[in-house]
Symmetry: C2
Amino acid sequence: MLATVTSRRPEAAAAKPQAMINPATPGVIVRSFRPHDLVFAQGQPQTHVYEVLDGVVCTYRLMSDGRRQVSGFYFPGDLIGTGVPGNNFLSAETISVARLRQIPISAISDLIRSRPDFGLRLLEHASLELEGQSDHMMSLGRRNATERIASFLVSLSRRNTRHGEDAGKLTLPMTRSDIADFLGLTIETVSRTFTQLRQWGVIDLPHPQSIIIRDMDRLAVLADQALEAA
Amino acid sequence: MLATVTSRRPEAAAAKPQAMINPATPGVIVRSFRPHDLVFAQGQPQTHVYEVLDGVVCTYRLMSDGRRQVSGFYFPGDLIGTGVPGNNFLSAETISVARLRQIPISAISDLIRSRPDFGLRLLEHASLELEGQSDHMMSLGRRNATERIASFLVSLSRRNTRHGEDAGKLTLPMTRSDIADFLGLTIETVSRTFTQLRQWGVIDLPHPQSIIIRDMDRLAVLADQALEAA
DNA sequence: CGATCTTTTGAAAGCTTTCAATCCAAGTGG
DNA sequence: CCACTTGGATTGAAAGCTTTCAAAAGATCG
């Protein structure tokens, strides 16, 4: 279904960072997923930490009536999970075809005990995660639809920059529904807001999964991102 | 200003958990704060991790036009900060008079290296923090005003339970403004929603800082909290 | 090329915000 | 001891933004 989307980002992960986990660690394997496969489910015991090798994954939380809050999108090089034993408080699902390296959490706590620096890296990762969430909470709680979309696009653009890709050309592997559930909006509002930004000349939308940023400054002003660490 | 509020919860922290940090660690001191004192500021280098001994603290993020998103409230026994060096991505401010034990982050990384289990505990703490944030994001993104307030009250009630206090009697040390900025609402909506819950017979409001939960089941249904770990 | 799913667009409804005014509790000073 | 001041909380009414419900337009795939 979204395979086509995936095929549109063959250049992704060009500047993939080095592996966070040594692949030779016992129990570590790579698994392949199709689009919309469930990686792990909310409430179930956490068994692994995952490193995205290819494709895109999202994590989310569901309410009993089906409302969904997507908490994050994970791209190649990203790590999913904290390594702390317990039940998952999120579900994770692939957006596209994906390959994930999975590390048993049992191995994690052993690693922490044997190599304290590894624990430090995990802690750094959790801290970065918390930072991202706090910015996202700002969006959900205090930004209007335009600002949320702008902020989202700026984040994607910065990710591109970090990975040595074009900051002005964005690929959206996720659907409008995923974006809506991430930003706390409806798909209609997401769509309308994209249209509005296009009409303002801030972005181009050659097709629904591709976005060209035409006025980065204006976008950044709309996003009003809190200043990142210098 | 809020001293009166503080004086209304003399029984707080009755079942305070044991100290997370050994007070004898070099550099660890206890500091006293008045209401609305800044503990640390967004963007500045992070210097300490704080343990709340007395009083209440909130963390928040500001936008350039002054909009504020409160990310959490911290009560006695709670830990603020991850211990990872870098700039604060949040500010922290006291809600009431407060005493905080502060631990230099330099001591933290030393502790992690010398006692890996300590790193594990910090990681657990960060993980719990992430879990709380993900539930809060659900509120901000997908719950309406009534559900957000209900969810907030249920959280406070559960905290009371964990600390051996009365689950049905809540003290709100924070102002309506703090609650509004936490829940992504305005003070008027917060106030109106409290009034509505009172009219429905779900809560009593003997005075603005005290809440009696009269129908916990109904409140829990309204909150539709995701199921906690059993 | 038809079938299906996603995206976009339109119009009305709804919930929250905004702007204003009042209420209330606590502290101050006469 | 009480009028006055002050800051927070509550209530009212209108405005605004997002959602909801519906339908059309596009894109993908067999």
